[in-house]
Symmetry: C2
Subunit: 529 residues, 2 copies
């Protein structure tokens, strides 16, 4: 069943001689399938096909794109145990997580299908002509969103389904009308091949142009770099490390024609715990955060890596309680030996900094590739002065910063790098006394949470997953939810264009029956010629 | 009245010793006012003030922002003849144009005022909580657009009012809630100072935070570069040359925290003239285009610099007719001796290329700084192979490319650099036979025009002024119309946030009475707690 080959459009292809295997971290052994890396020739084939496919795909109806997306979802479900087993064997994640993530992936595909089938998302806007206007007549002008061109998607190590091959970036790009080339993540290339086979089946069933989707294997950075540098690629989606995302951003910015790179990168997700909450709910907060810090072995981009509070007896108590609660958590497997190695190195690096004290560092022996969770503390001044303490430790780790007072707390927050989320733990009306702190926090994040945990990103229209750099390369967009389609589209105007040649969304009689803004008024009305 | 100083917030300031003067191209002499360039210290002052102002300004109500924008418009009108005379003395443009552009500027300010007073533009989106959802409860999540931070605006040489100090970029940024620092264009620094005085008066009248606006003088590139590199600047708007825009884009991309640069740059605005139109309306089209090519001395970014047609007797005829029509046009003044010099150099460069023939090159003597309009022809193959023929000649110049056939026409269009506009001149149903040509054209431009001219950019919601690179650095946004506000905002989510602490746009009882999307349905309804 598994081939280890690339999908160049609908064709399996393996012209190269560089190969690699994926790894089962639970069993601590390599998986069997041998994956062949894409060659330069195959990259060009995939891009040229995508560029040709774009000519047709960009004009395909919303109904047909919806059928494509829904059929991808169906075909993914049809892979059934094959996919779930493959997922688990390549990630060390449990079956429940695999099924949950598959559900999320299916949900995303279907929500984009609904969006484009319904059709209003193109933001059709019509300003009718005023031939008798003085001093100059006014033309008829009509605008809608159109796809930007072939998109390259880089899968995430920590979401083999929901943010990889047929994940949020791909679903949004296909919904927009952009062909997609996935640079498969080498840690779960088998999961990638299975999902790709589902997409290719769906493309053939629905009659999509050849090259609307390709999937390229690679264990290094060359394939990705060549894709991003290719003149026919028009945008890039990435989920991963700051180093990786920034390298692609820099590469894209240096092109003769720079292209947008939407990279969702690192975040330490600051959590501000206010004094009264520590007084009244110390144990409960400690328990909740022990869970959030270790959820999914801490391998979420919204993992709470930074807990900020003002020095008090409550805080001292909280540190003890968090120690107790996090010590109770049974260690779990990380995605890959390299991820585990990175976790250990980064954890040790933080621990070795001046004025950092270890609160908890799970010390019993664990299985290979299992992570030992840890919590450390540091004073506010040291944190402020040492940028090494601001780095993300990807894994079940968090740092408590003990601030001298409210002013130091505000300064620390205002000097934080950009973050995906910020959380405030507050009792009753306590928060209203901290308006400067909250305002500073809002300015550094994409989403702010009250009395909750940052882990768990609801997929819905009002979700923002993104934020000021380096949480993402462009805070003006979200990577989650239906509005993430806006990363892959551009507005386009038709001036005095013949009605019969306009796309249906802009035609006088509104054949798609969508809401449009006509001369400033939103309606489903028809317009006059 | 004129001081030649910078506005650092509300304060006039001239700490430097580098000075310059503006130039009256009609009189061919320098104007009197001595302008003092901003120093590094003044730049830092302006940026720090803007950053502080942002803390308040980002939370100011839409009503108050609207009052600010409307008062700016009032104060600009109150400058009356002083402004119009200054404009003319610094541009060589006639009074009618000055007044027209002032009207456009006022219109833009008021349309953004209306937008933010009305309030729906924040795209408020609410997904209500589902505490009993299985397997996990769903949080209440609410999203809206918020300002991105202090914005730097670079004024345009060719629109001293509408795309400079209080032009589209500034109006959109202030409407969004972003403080603005204008890098004044050195060719019309006096116009810039007058408009700045109007903005500062309005800021004081309405009680805006100090530093919500600054205006910095400079005749070189240092001030602009320092502004774009400053860590507290969060976005950049620019209108001008490809070289200038790209330099700023590169600088911003290299920052530790890269920031978005929206630059509206060069365009040669291809016009495709189809055979039947040449048969039936040859003289009329020639006359219309002689007018469009020379309008405003050809100094519009939408100037039709490239006319594409298939070889025919009609085309030969058209070349003759265009020669006759354009020879009738009386030359007019350019904005500045440097612009005139650039025009001559670029025109000569094109004329000197292989296989380029001069159709018309107005040869009578003209006043100093007046432009001699010109039209040249070249064959399709030469145009395709020589990138020097694709460069914008800023001024009253156009090139006719004589294509061998429809296939060559399509290839030429598909290989064009990105453009602001594309125009098709067609008779009756002729256009429907050229679907590949039209599709290729659409893929290279931001706006497509039927049987018109690209000059004349209507300010309305359905206008797109932007396009694939190098027409703009990010085709996903427009520089004209109320949606241009989206360049300066980012989406932001509140999760389970206390109702009384939410911004009014997201509060349960909808105090702003705006349309919101609640659980997928657009309405003005209140929500439950």
């Amino acid at each position: 069943m598994m081939t280890g080959k690339n999908y160049i459009g609908n064709q399996l292809s393996a012209k190269g001689n560089k190969t690699f295997k994926t790894f089962n971290p639970e069993l601590n052994q390599e998986n069997k399938t041998v994956f062949t890396e894409a060659t330069k020739e195959e990259i060009n084939e995939a891009v040229n096909l995508a560029s040709e496919a774009f000519k047709q795909f960009r004009e395909i109806s919303g109904q047909k794109k919806a059928a494509f997306l829904n059929t991808i979802a169906d075909e993914i479900l049809a892979l059934d145990h094959l996919l779930i087993n493959m997922y688990c064997s390549e990630t060390g994640l449990p079956e429940g997580r695999a099924k949950g993530e598959r559900g999320r992936t299916i949900g995303q595909l279907r929500s984009f299908a609904n969006l484009v089938a319904e059709g209003c998302w193109v933001e059709a806007t019509i300003d009718t002509a005023q031939p008798n206007r003085e001093p100059l007549p006014k033309s008829d002008i009509r605008k809608m969103l159109i796809p930007i061109g072939p998109v390259v998607v880089f899968g995430a190590s920590n979401f083999p389904l929901a943010y990889s091959t047929a994940g949020g970036d791909t679903a949004a790009a296909l919904a927009a009308g952009c062909p997609v080339i996935v640079k498969s993540h080498p840690m779960h290339a088998g999961t990638g091949e299975l999902v790709s086979s589902a997409i290719v089946k769906a493309a053939q069933k629905i009659g999509m142009p050849k090259g609307v989707f390709s999937n390229l294997n690679s264990s290094g950075i060359d394939v990705g770099q060549q894709l991003v540098a290719h003149p026919k690629i028009k945008a890039v989606g990435f989920t991963g490390s700051i180093k990786g995302g920034r390298a692609l951003y820099d590469l894209a910015a240096k092109r003769e024609e720079p292209i947008p790179v939407f990279a969702e990168m690192g975040s330490i997700n600051p959590v501000v715990i206010l004094p009264k909450a520590l007084e009244n709910r110390n144990q409960e907060i400690a328990k909740t955060y022990a869970g959030s810090i270790t959820l999914g072995t801490g391998q979420f981009c919204t993992n709470p890596g930074l807990l900020l509070a003002i020095k008090s007896d409550g805080l001292t108590n909280f540190i003890k309680n968090l120690y107790e609660e996090i010590s109770k958590i049974i260690p779990s497997c990380m995605l890959h030996p390299n991820i585990k190695k990175g976790y250990e190195i980064n954890k040790e690096k933080v621990i070795s900094q001046n004025n950092v004290s270890v609160v908890a560092n799970f010390s019993s022996e664990v299985q290979n590739n299992y992570a030992q969770q840890a919590v450390v503390t540091v004073d506010g001044k040291s944190f402020l002065e040492n940028p090494d303490l601001h780095l993300e430790v990807f894994g079940p780790f968090s740092m408590i910063v003990e601030c001298e007072n409210e002013v130091e707390l505000e300064v620390i927050i205002s000097k934080l790098e950009g973050q995906l989320t910020g959380t405030v733990i507050s009792d009753n009306h306590e928060i209203s006394k901290y308006s400067k702190v909250i305002s500073a926090l809002q300015n550094r994040v994409g989403r702010i949470i009250f009395n909750g945990v940052p882990t768990g990103v609801e997929v819905c229209e009002s979700m923002v997953h993104g934020g000021p750099y380096p949480a993402s390369t462009d805070s003006r967009f979200s990577a989650v939810g239906i509005t993430s389609i806006k990363r892959w589209v551009r507005p386009f105007s038709y001036q005095d264009w013949p009605n019969e040649l306009l796309p249906e969304a802009l035609q006088n009689d509104n054949p798609l029956d969508i809401f449009r803004i006509i001369d400033g008024i939103r309606s489903k009305e028809v317009t006059n010629e």
